[in-house]
């Protein structure tokens, strides 16, 4: 098995000490997509959300204040960069750090909002993300302990053992919790009721790109053939 059976043409590596970034067509596409979205988010204004006002025939306009805009944009950019990094890293521990960072900034992006329902959803999502950090890092630790390395470029040549498989399951549970995908999706949908479209998009973008990348990583660790 090699990288080309998963992500297409192998384009090269960037060694940064122990951590080696690698590019296949797939990784490059995801990396560029994350960066493009981050760049657009950095230069976008927020929308004014129009809602019906109870008791009158008037509309209610929800806007994002300047102070809130600044902090949310900053966190959205950090989230975009962490997602881009997670797309090309060839190191499992590095990957788990990026995923944990994404979980933290995702909570931050909505925690700045002054709406009770949204804050409650952020609180619930935060609890899940915090709990999920244990299986996330434990998964990486199990993979290191059983294979002797956390470099995907090395792991791809090591036969899969039962403990590596067990570590992968923990890693997957951790990623699912940190990114709020099924079965943890319900509270996450509630976060999106607030205004600030460009910042909210990065929460969803990071989740889906991370899940696609996780599939690649799990298939590298667990070689069925």
């Amino acid at each position: 098995m090699d990288f080309t059976t998963l992500g297409g043409q192998f384009l090269g590596t960037i060694p940064l000490g122990d951590i080696v970034l690698y590019f296949t067509t797939f990784n490059l596409f995801m990396f560029v997509s994350a960066l493009v979205f981050t760049a657009i988010i950095a230069m976008s204004k927020t929308e004014s959300q129009i809602e019906a006002d109870f008791g009158t025939l008037k509309d209610k306009e929800k806007k994002v204040s300047k102070a809130e805009f600044k902090i949310r944009r900053f966190l959205a950019i950090i989230c975009g960069l962490a997602t881009a990094g997670a797309m090309i890293t060839g190191d499992v521990f590095d990957y788990t750090l990026f995923v944990a960072l994404i979980g933290i900034v995702n909570i931050g992006i909505v925690a700045a909002v002054k709406e009770i329902d949204v804050l409650e959803a952020a609180f619930q999502y935060g609890i899940i993300a915090m709990i999920a950090s244990l299986p996330l890092f434990a998964g990486a630790a199990f993979i290191l302990a059983s294979s002797g390395t956390i470099s995907l470029l090395e792991i791809i040549n090591i036969p899969t053992t039962t403990m590596m498989f067990f570590g992968s399951i923990l890693l997957f549970i951790g990623v699912a919790g940190e990114t709020g995908v099924a079965p943890f999706f319900a509270t996450k949908a509630e976060l999106f009721r607030t205004a600030g479209s460009p910042f909210l998009v990065i929460i969803h973008l990071s989740s889906l790109l991370i899940i696609v990348r996780t599939i690649e990583i799990l298939l590298i660790i667990n070689k069925p053939f």
């Binding site: 098995m1 080309t4 059976t5 998963l6 992500g7 297409g8 296949t24 067509t25 797939f26 596409f29 995801m30 997509s33 493009v36 979205f37 657009i40 988010i41 230069m43 976008s44 204004k45 927020t46 929308e47 004014s48 959300q49 129009i50 809602e51 019906a52 306009e61 995908v181 099924a182 079965p183 999706f185 319900a186 996450k188 949908a189 976060l191 999106f192 009721r193 205004a195 479209s197 460009p198 909210l200 998009v201 969803h204 973008l205 989740s207 889906l208 790109l209 899940i211 696609v212 599939i215 690649e216 298939l219 069925p224 053939f225």
Partner: protein, 307 residues
């Protein structure tokens, strides 16, 4: 000296010819995807109408709608998040053109096609929320909620890999040439992918909660004129690509006529389902897809490893 100069010139001309051929191939495939996708959407409306005892619009109606939007005035809501509101339509077009390049043109990695589909979900989400309209916003919230329904998508990837040992489309086609169509060896994965296609059907799909008629046009409601035209082009290409992936991955490489017949059959089947079922509420839609995914995943693993 002169010979090496001629050799260099010949190499240069050959490279130019290869690049021109590739460009022509991409353009032709994108054009074909748009036209076939649009006509299939029109066919979908026609079949639904005939089942409901209505004459229905002509089959080229979706195509005419798309062209119509290009000659309409393009206006922007004053509440929109600029420039995201505009850029999102360009991104939607770009990702599906990229899908055509990765799919029919180069037969690259299936992982990239699924990444493109994931980005399509983001675009759906943000096209809705960037306008400030409550209809778009609800569509956006539903897009996030329906992310749970992406479980089948990722499960399909894993099952295909477990069966074939590769993610490259050209290798998957070669596998099917020697081992028979995957439709028969992993039918539950095909079922899961079919449910995914059903959830993306443009007209009256029971599972497409982001485009439910209670939300007018869902995430597209506040995009007008040329922007809407670009969105409709992208959706036609997206429909063509979803059907193309299904046929290529589960039946194998077909002739152009084979692809068209297959696409018409699947569109007809989906139209039948759309015409005879109500649009489910968001909870029911998501839970239906998650339940089918669970059956598909467990059943496929049993089929691969124990039968």
């Amino acid at each position: 000296m002169a010979i090496s100069k001629i050799k260099t010139q010949i190499t240069f001309l050959l490279l130019v010819k290869i690049k021109m051929n590739l460009m022509a191939n991409i353009l032709l495939n994108v054009l074909a995807a748009f036209l076939v996708g649009s006509v299939l959407f029109g066919l979908q409306r026609k079949i639904i109408a005939r089942i409901q005892m209505r004459p229905g619009p002509p089959i080229i109606q979706h195509l005419l709608h798309t062209f119509k939007f290009f000659i309409k005035e393009t206006v922007f809501p004053k509440t929109a998040a600029m420039p995201f509101y505009i850029v999102i339509t360009i991104i939607l077009c770009a990702i599906w053109v990229a899908a055509v390049i990765v799919g029919p043109v180069t037969e690259g990695s299936l992982l990239i096609l699924f990444a493109i589909f994931a980005i399509h979900k983001i675009v759906e989400h943000n096209a809705g929320s960037s306008s400030g309209s409550p209809y778009g916003k609800l569509s956006c919230v539903r897009a996030v909620f329906s992310a749970a329904a992406e479980v089948p998508l990722f499960a399909v990837l894993l099952i295909i890999y477990l069966q074939t040992g590769t993610m490259n489309l050209s290798d998957i086609i070669a596998y099917q040439d020697s081992n028979g169509a995957l439709l028969f060896s992993i039918p539950l994965a095909a079922m899961m992918f079919f449910v995914l296609i059903l959830s993306k059907a443009y007209y009256y799909s029971p599972l497409n909660i982001t485009m439910g008629k209670d939300l007018v046009s869902g995430f597209e409601t506040e995009h007008f004129g040329m922007l809407r035209g670009f969105m409709m082009i992208s959706e036609s290409i997206a429909w063509y690509m979803l059907l193309w992936i299904f046929l290529t991955v589960f039946i194998g490489g077909l002739t152009p006529i084979g692809y068209i017949v297959g696409m018409v059959v699947i569109t007809g089947l989906i139209s039948l389902i759309d015409a005879t079922t109500p649009i489910l509420n968001p909870n029911h839609s998501v839970m239906t897809q998650v339940t089918l995914a669970f059956i598909g995943i467990v059943g496929s693993i049993i089929l691969i490893f124990y039968l």
